[in-house]
Amino acid sequence: MNTPHHIRTPLAQVRGYGAAKSGTGDFWVQRVTAVASIPLTIAAVVIMIILLGRNQPAAAQILGSAPVAIIMLLFVATITIHMRVGMQVIIEDYVHDELARLALIIANNFFVVIVGLTAVYGLLKLSFGL
């Protein structure tokens, strides 16, 4: 990084960041997961409606079957990555205190991993009967 008395941005650092060569990772991930989440959300909602009114053994059997479990795993993975980026943008926009911002960004990462892996654990348990 530049020393404090340098005000000009080093050109070498900026070169190559144009035309999305790098430095736009979060932007790109947000678009990829957005596109993926459209069919996956529709599929997940259809699965939820199919499971309405069914008892626990039937729900467990359907959720644990390979196609349903794989769709739900993809759904969980996609939306958790998507919401990690989305919440970080919200934090960066509104939380101006540096320490609070860092703490919330870390908390965001923790939350997303905990919720995501908890959901994955539930699905794997139904699939493999752990």
Binding site: T41, Q56, I90, A119
Partner: protein, 143 residues
């Protein structure tokens, strides 16, 4: 941020004298602006709603846990949350499709952007109502 603070102190003026860009409340509300704000709010809500998704998927392994989840989901507060979650999900999805269209450089015309915003709102409400009619037929009345 520390860079900005340094720049201000070098100029010898307090930060408050610097011109600030106008914020939301200075503009007349428009449909596209409201939809943009709602997109962010629905995303924020959906984020915490994933706790329910994780609970549901973990409850299905045993009868007791599933009964607890079903009791919550069948209660009036549970149904209200799920109804709001359904609308937020489809509003965010349609809003996201709108943003993907914008990413290609299309849909920015004065008529197109208004039409897209209206379609976003009407579409999300229509999908929510249709899904809940289907869902309540499958689910049965209040428990």
């Amino acid at each position: 941020m520390s860079f900005m603070v340094e720049m201000r102190s070098l100029e010898g003026r307090p930060a408050t004298e610097r011109p600030l860009s106008p914020h939301l409340q200075i503009y007349r509300p428009t449909l596209t602006m409201t939809m943009s704000i709602v997109h962010r709010i629905t995303g924020f809500g959906l984020y915490f709603g994933t706790i329910l998704l994780a609970w549901w998927l973990n409850s299905a392994a045993g009868p007791d846990g599933y009964a607890k989840f079903q009791a919550f989901a069948g209660s009036w507060i549970g149904r209200l949350i799920l109804f709001g979650y359904t609308w937020a999900l489809f509003h965010h999805m349609l809003g996201g499709i709108r943003h993907l269209i914008w990413d290609t450089g299309r849909g920015f015309g004065p008529n197109e952007r208004e039409w897209l915003a209206a379609a976003n709102l009407i579409g999300s409400i229509a999908i929510t109502v249709i899904l809940w009619i289907v869902g309540l037929l499958a689910w049965g009345g209040p428990q």
